[in-house]
């Protein structure tokens, strides 16, 4: 399907996120993609398979299949088989876990696919937050099937004011079930999460969450259970502007001219750089209309500089002027993309300041 494109192994590690469909059997309070049981949009299978072919050509090494709920995508088995067959991807599926039975778990195992399952607290809280009675029990059963099949499981928890105290319980619960990692994601001001923004954690609470998770990480280390915080270190971003945009600064060790770390294909085919909730004005194009490699090539020729300008402006505003040690970079980038004006000059560019 790649039309004779030659694949050359390279030390790249790009990420491709494919939103297979917009439909989900749950109606979660915070869903960043605004998925519902009533949404019909989904990617045609040929677009998905072509994107996987292109991903290989583009140097992508990690593919995340998400939605909506990927297990509602009728062609998921075909996508998994295709992606796993002689393609050098780390594959992962993000799911609510409620539709995972033995067959689904075995299918993930056979395709060397890891699973990220969303769980936000105990049964009462989870069912209420996820909008479906029985969701917790079904997801628990799903995780048990995945673990029994030998699929690596990460439990992903969205943390807000209402369940901040339940992180230690979540860690114990996930570790006892046989999961490998707890990924803690503070509630973000994106999608439906914007409607419950008052439940977001304060900066102080995020710092305390970081300390708590690190303490838990040390306690659970002997069991091989890991923790992840879906934020970024401001200090590290200050040291490496290239984690936000292609800086080409004096100390930049990446040595690239134009780069997209994550390609996001949404269920309507829109291809975005880095963040799924970005203003579509920064889109590369539509994967239904042209193959990914073509869209990337065109973007690098025209359009990319506008996106780089956004990243650089947000970096200058937020990373250089804020004093928060932990930064929700994707959330901020997404928010600012809707109000960004390309004609505005960044207040301060640390890289050019160093060069000059």
């Amino acid at each position: 399907m790649s039309g004779g494109l030659q694949v050359i192994p390279a030390p790249e590690s790009g990420v491709l996120v494919i939103h297979l469909l917009g439909r989900c059997n749950l109606h979660c309070q915070h869903c960043y993609t605004d998925s519902t049981p009533w949404r019909e949009t989904s990617l045609p299978i040929d677009v998905v398979l072509r994107s996987l072919d292109d991903a290989k050509y583009l140097g992508v090494r990690t593919v995340h299949l998400t939605g909506g709920e990927p297990f509602l995508y009728a062609d998921l088995p075909a996508v998994l088989s295709y992606a796993a067959e002689a393609r050098p991807f780390h594959l992962a599926v993000s799911t609510n876990g409620t539709l995972v039975g033995r067959a689904e778990a075995n299918r993930l195992k056979a395709s060397h696919t890891a699973a990220q399952v969303s769980i936000d607290g105990d049964e009462a809280y989870h069912d209420s937050f996820r909008g479906l009675a029985g969701a917790f029990r079904a997801a628990t059963k799903g995780i048990q099937e995945l673990v029994a099949a030998g699929v690596p499981v990460t439990v992903v928890a969205t943390i807000c004011q209402n369940n901040l105290a339940s992180v230690p319980w979540l860690a114990g619960w996930a570790a006892d079930l046989g999961a490998e990692c707890l990924s803690v994601q503070p509630l973000q001001h994106v999608g439906r999460g914007a409607k419950i923004a008052q439940k977001q954690l304060s900066q102080q609470q995020i710092c305390e969450l970081f300390m708590q998770v690190s303490d838990l990480g040390h306690a659970y280390r002997p069991r091989g259970f890991r923790f992840q915080l879906a934020y970024r270190s401001r200090s590290h971003m200050q040291e490496h502007p290239c984690s936000a945009y292609v800086c080409n600064g004096a100390r930049c060790h990446r040595g690239v001219t134009k780069e997209i770390k994550t390609l996001v294909v949404k269920e309507d085919g829109t291809v975005l750089p880095e963040v799924a909730t970005l203003n579509p004005r920064f889109a590369l194009g539509n994967a239904r209309e042209a193959p990914l490699h073509e869209l990337v090539k065109r973007y690098f020729a025209s359009g990319y500089e506008d996106f780089r300008g956004l990243c650089q402006a947000v970096y200058s505003d937020v990373i250089c002027s804020s004093d928060s040690p932990i930064v929700p970079w994707d959330e901020i980038l997404s928010e600012r993309s809707w109000t960004y004006s390309a004609h505005r000059t960044p207040a301060f560019d640390p890289v050019f300041a160093i060069v000059r």
Binding site: G59, G217, R226, H293
Partner: protein, 112 residues
Amino acid sequence: MDSKLPIHLSVTIPQTSLKKIVESGRIMEFVDTFSTLAKAHITHQIVTQLTSAHNTGVSIAVGFDDDPGYGNGPVIHWPWPRGVYEDAMREREITALANAKTPEVIPLAKAG
């Protein structure tokens, strides 16, 4: 030699303010408020130290989003893997051209 990580907390209270607080019967409220502010201040400094790119070897047990390592805190010159980038695409195109079947040589006369 073991290096020192500075955590600063320094407060001065004007004597007249303290007098007002104490004499209005709000010592407990003042201490509670002050403790909260002090906790926030110390938390901020500790977390800044622990998440610093210049982290002096203290091992946090949590990975960050986009952090290629795990559990050791961000590393100052970590050789981050590259994403989809232009130079690599160009290299691939050149290689693909080089590996393509050599086109037939068209005689000059025919080429006109």
